[in-house]
């Protein structure tokens, strides 16, 4: 089956469940393709045939015994490199963790294994998830399968390039300010950030604890829903994980119906700041929804204006503390300077050598923001903005079921274009950040190619906290509208990686 790699995860799962094909065959196909094409895309930092095939064989054996462990049983998956894995190094894209093999599996990784999903490898990312392009990875940028000179988004660009380039049918990402959704938008794939607490963060190398959330990356809305169903649920190892179940996302996708849907367009995110082609795609999505019978209104979220400013205080503050543990004492890189190597000098030399420039920039920002005398003005004010954004959203959601925005202001930019302009880079997340600040779910679904450059655009769907099912419902509606128009998913329009 030569077109195996173009099938969706749910299609593969059905083929495996019906024993038309084995998990081992599927896993081998994706693995071989990954080995062949990863030099082009740099999607993976680590690939291990032995562990992937062993897991696939175990999945096949379980199925032979009549045990179907999950709806995605046997489907191979790529995992972002900031989730701990006992059988693969976990670097979070940083030199400071080069070669570190964790002693424990992240809860999400353990759930994937238990659900019978073989792990193909670990995907590239901006160092400690700080970035929007993977250009801040210590191991070089990943490439966008639509155009290898362009970024695949970040921080989860390894996962988005793997999925959109069919080096994996599905992948795990993490989203602190848009790190799942922005990469999905610029690679024409689907990515969802669940409600904060829906998925356990245990074993996710923290960037900003109050903003981080793990979620799915895929080529279809149903695949993301199936994957969220596998990885979500309460975990006693994560105090912030929600005690209650949010229901089945896959059911929400399968029963999606536009009837009675009320959609809000955020006034503050409907402006000239967006690339005209992206804006045109967004307007087209809205027009289609209206035509399908949805009610669309404009809602006012005045505090969104301050979201990026607040985000770039809260995130560095938490990150500066979360990254303090990288001190050479217990794990990871250790650099011993010449002369009298006191503990302070060893720590300083290790952090100097092991952290990249963006990480250092945010540690310094965060340390400053938390300093006594500045705390109230910076961290304290940022937390107040967070509350205001939550209030704006609560008001908006009292009028509508979901909010729609363009996921990103632009399509994929060129590698190197913004790497020396951190402020320009930070603006990529203008539409995605409010969801993290408010803890609500958000997903990006492909909605066309921008007319200027022919590159993918994404529409973001935001739902109230814990109403992830509502988000998936609308994601499915949007996906179906475009499927009807295109006859195939947007990803089918991507150029063949083999010839690029």
């Amino acid at each position: 089956m030569s077109d195996l790699i173009h099938k969706s995860a749910s299609e593969l799962a059905d083929l495996i469940a019906s024993k038309s094909i084995s998990s081992e065959e599927v896993t081998s196909a994706f693995f071989d393709r990954s080995v062949e094409l990863n030099p082009k895309t740099n999607s993976y930092l680590y690939l291990n045939r032995d562990t992937a095939i062993a897991a696939a064989k175990a999945a096949d054996a379980a199925l032979a015994n009549g045990e179907k462990l999950s709806p995605l049983h046997g489907v191979p998956i790529a995992v972002k490199d900031n989730l701990t894995t006992t059988d693969a190094p976990t670097t979070s894209g940083s030199k400071i963790l080069e070669g570190w093999v964790p002693q424990y599996d992240a809860t999400v990784v353990a759930r994937l294994r238990k659900a019978g999903l073989p792990i193909l490898g670990k995907t590239n990312m901006d160092e400690f998830a700080m970035g929007s392009s993977t250009e801040y990875s210590a191991y070089g940028p990943s490439k966008n399968p639509w155009d290898l000179t362009r970024i695949p988004g970040g921080s989860g660009g390894g996962s988005s390039s793997a999925v959109s380039g069919h080096l994996a049918p599905i992948a795990i990402g993490s989203d602190t300010g848009g790190s799942i959704r922005f990469p999905a938008a610029v690679t024409g794939s689907v990515g969802a950030k669940p409600t904060y607490g829906a998925v356990s963060r245990y074993g996710l190398i923290a960037l900003a604890s109050s903003l981080d959330q793990i979620g799915p990356v895929s080529n279809t809305v149903l695949d993301s829903a199936l994957l969220q169903d596998v990885i979500s649920g309460h975990d006693k190892h994560d105090s912030t994980s929600l005690p209650q179940s949010l229901g089945s996302m896959a059911d929400a996708v399968r029963s999606a119906d536009v009837k009675g849907l009320r959609v809000g367009v955020v006034k503050q995110l409907d402006s000239d700041a967006f690339q005209p082609g992206v804006k045109a795609c967004f307007d087209d999505t809205i027009a289609k929804l209206v035509a399908a019978g949805a009610e669309v209104v404009t809602v006012d979220c005045p505090s969104f204006e301050y979201a990026i400013a607040a985000y770039y205080l809260i995130l560095p503050a938490e990150a500066s503390s979360n990254l303090a543990k990288f001190d050479s004492v217990r794990f990871g890189l250790r650099v011993i300077p010449d002369g009298n190597p006191t503990i302070e000098r060893v720590m300083a030399a290790t952090r100097e050598a092991g952290f990249g420039p963006e990480v250092k920039r945010r540690i310094i920002l965060g340390t400053y923001a938390l300093s006594s005398g500045y705390y109230d003005a910076y961290y304290g004010s940022a937390q107040k903005v967070r509350t205001l954004i939550q209030q704006d959203l609560a008001k908006a959601f009292s009028q509508v079921d979901v909010l729609l925005t363009p996921t990103a202001p632009t399509t994929a930019f060129k590698i190197g274009e913004k790497v020396n302009d951190p402020l320009a880079m930070y603006l990529n997340d203008i539409a995605t950040i409010p969801a993290n600040l408010a803890g609500i779910p958000g997903m990006s679904v492909p909605n066309g190619l921008a007319f200027e450059d022919g590159l993918p655009s994404g529409v973001q769907i935001l739902a109230p906290a814990m109403q992830d099912a509502q988000m998936y419902r609308v994601g499915s509606i949007v996906e179906q509208m475009y499927l009807a128009e295109w006859g195939a998913p947007l990803i089918a329009k991507a150029p063949k990686l083999e010839v690029l």
Partner: protein, 499 residues
């Protein structure tokens, strides 16, 4: 470093008013650590009770130990504190190799308990009220051992070893408000306060409370000022003073040291100081100012602790009696002389004596067993008397057999030896060892006659039906016969006489 110049103590007290403040860290004896499932055990092989959470591996997250919260609430209640309906954890950020995450998860602006007070009674009965500012939960750090230096301290060491077994052990830090007006008795009050805290947490069984193991550690803040000055003097904080005697001596030393400096026109440096137990002096540690920047912020990995009122009341209901009040009550109930009572308290035998009395023994008899014969046996076996394998119920039983004349004192000691040797309950030991009082009616009748002659009203009482009056005579007869008779037989013969 050596001792600095000191002002004589009496002179210092004459010239300066002393203000102290005490921070006591209590290590809780929960089964597991504060934020992970690792065992909380002292003295294991280094780095064996560790996991990704307490050594701060990337990706790990804390989860609050409910039992530790319960113990912390209990301590707060025992100190008369208000319990906060919601209390969050914060991160205290600083780099140190014994601190796995390079931040300590602690409570900052929302402690679980605040605004309490405790009465401290000094040796001579004078009582001071000490106000408690707060009691908050936090985690302990690991333990560093510095190798290669002369002093075992970090200065001069070649390298250091770190043991994370202690990392994440739950701590409650109890902080007093400034204590004024203790004057010359400030050092004594400081020690008595630490003693009282230790006693309270021990009675509640929330801590092993062993200072030599660091279960209870005290940081003593001392400042002095000329009488009449309203502004507080600059304080020093003497760290980790690890015995009651050290608390007293360290406070006294700091008063004398500071007094000498101020009297000679100098100024006190705000700093932490180390107490050198062996030679009895403090030396400068790191400078400390109120501007020390720990960059506290709310711990985003933990949700706030929100104890329900019902839970707080449930915990309050299980609090044991305050140890000071209990001592007062028992001393009155037992009618011991002060020295006798202090002997019991100092030997830590209150529980044993109380249980023995509750099992039926007379207080004095119970006291004599525990502080006498049993203490002697424990001493010769080199174990703590509390650890002897004999229960208060068994002791009471043996005493009852003595009282009823079935055992002589000498035989009773035999029975004790048998119980300790694992031969079973007193009855079983008596059976096994054939400890039966022999009867010789001839000598016995003579002894009974003699005893009855001394207590002529006994026979009359027995005839009136007060059979228990025979007891007094039985005792006298048993004594005369040196216990080598059967008390039941004695009783039988007395009752016969009364017919």
């Amino acid at each position: 470093m050596a001792k600095e110049a000191l002002m004589p103590y009496e002179q210092a007290i004459e010239q300066f008013e002393v203000v102290i403040g005490l921070e006591v860290h209590v290590e809780l004896n929960t089964k597991s650590k504060m934020f992970c499932g690792c065992a909380n055990i002292f003295g294991n092989e280094p780095n064996t009770n560790v996991c990704p959470i307490c050594i701060g591996l990337p990706g790990s997250l804390p989860a609050v130990n409910k039992k530790a919260v319960e113990s912390s609430i209990a301590i707060g209640l025992a100190l008369g504190c208000q319990i906060a309906p919601t209390g969050r954890f914060s991160r205290k950020n600083y780099f140190y190799p014994d601190l796995a995450k390079n931040f300590q998860t602690s409570q900052y602006d929302e402690p679980i308990a605040s605004e309490g007070k405790i009465n401290i009674e000094l040796e001579d009965g004078v009582v001071f009220e000490v106000l408690i500012e707060r009691a908050h939960m936090e985690e302990d750090a690991g333990k560093l051992t510095h190798i290669g230096g002369a002093t075992g301290r970090i200065q001069g060491a070649e390298y250091s070893l770190v043991d994370y077994n202690r990392a994440g052990v739950p701590l409650v830090e109890i902080v007093t408000k400034p204590v004024y007006g203790a004057g010359a008795r400030a050092p004594e009050l400081a020690a008595a306060y630490v003693h009282a805290i230790r006693e309270i947490v021990k009675s509640m069984n929330v801590s092993d409370a062993r200072m030599e193991r660091g279960n209870v550690r005290c940081d003593a803040n001392v400042s002095i000022r000329p009488y009449g000055q309203t502004k507080l003097g600059t304080r020093t904080e003497t760290k980790n003073v690890n015995s009651l005697r050290s608390v007293e001596n360290a406070v006294r030393y700091e008063i004398q040291r500071q007094a000498h400096i101020l009297a000679n026109g100098g100024t006190i440096t705000q700093e932490t100081r180390h107490w050198h137990e062996d030679r009895g002096y403090t030396s400068a540690g790191r400078p400390k100012s109120d501007a020390d920047d720990y960059r506290y912020f709310p711990e985003p990995d933990l949700v706030p602790v929100q104890p329900s009122l019902a839970w707080i009341e449930e915990i309050r209901a299980t609090l044991p009696e305050n140890p000071g009040l209990r001592r007062k009550r028992l001393m009155e109930a037992w009618g011991f002389a002060e020295l006798e009572f202090r002997d019991v308290v100092n030997s830590d035998l209150l529980d044993q004596v109380e249980a023995t009395v509750a099992a039926g023994a007379a207080p004095q008899a119970a006291r004599k067993w525990w502080t006498g014969e049993l203490a002697r046996l424990a001493n010769s076996q080199e174990v703590a008397v509390q650890d002897l394998s004999i229960t208060p119920t068994q002791v009471a039983k043996i005493q009852q057999l003595i009282d009823s004349g079935e055992l002589t004192d000498r035989m009773a000691r035999d029975v004790v030896a048998g119980v300790l040797a694992g031969e079973g309950d007193p009855e079983a030991v008596i059976e096994k060892r054939g400890l039966k009082v022999v009867s010789d009616d001839g000598a016995l009748i003579a002894a009974i006659d003699e005893a009855l002659a001394k207590q002529p009203d006994v026979l009359e009482k027995i005839r009136e039906g007060k059979v228990q009056a025979a007891g007094a005579v039985i005792g006298a007869v048993m004594q005369a016969m040196r216990g080598q008779v059967d008390a039941a037989r004695v009783r039988e013969l007395i009752l016969e006489r009364a017919k």
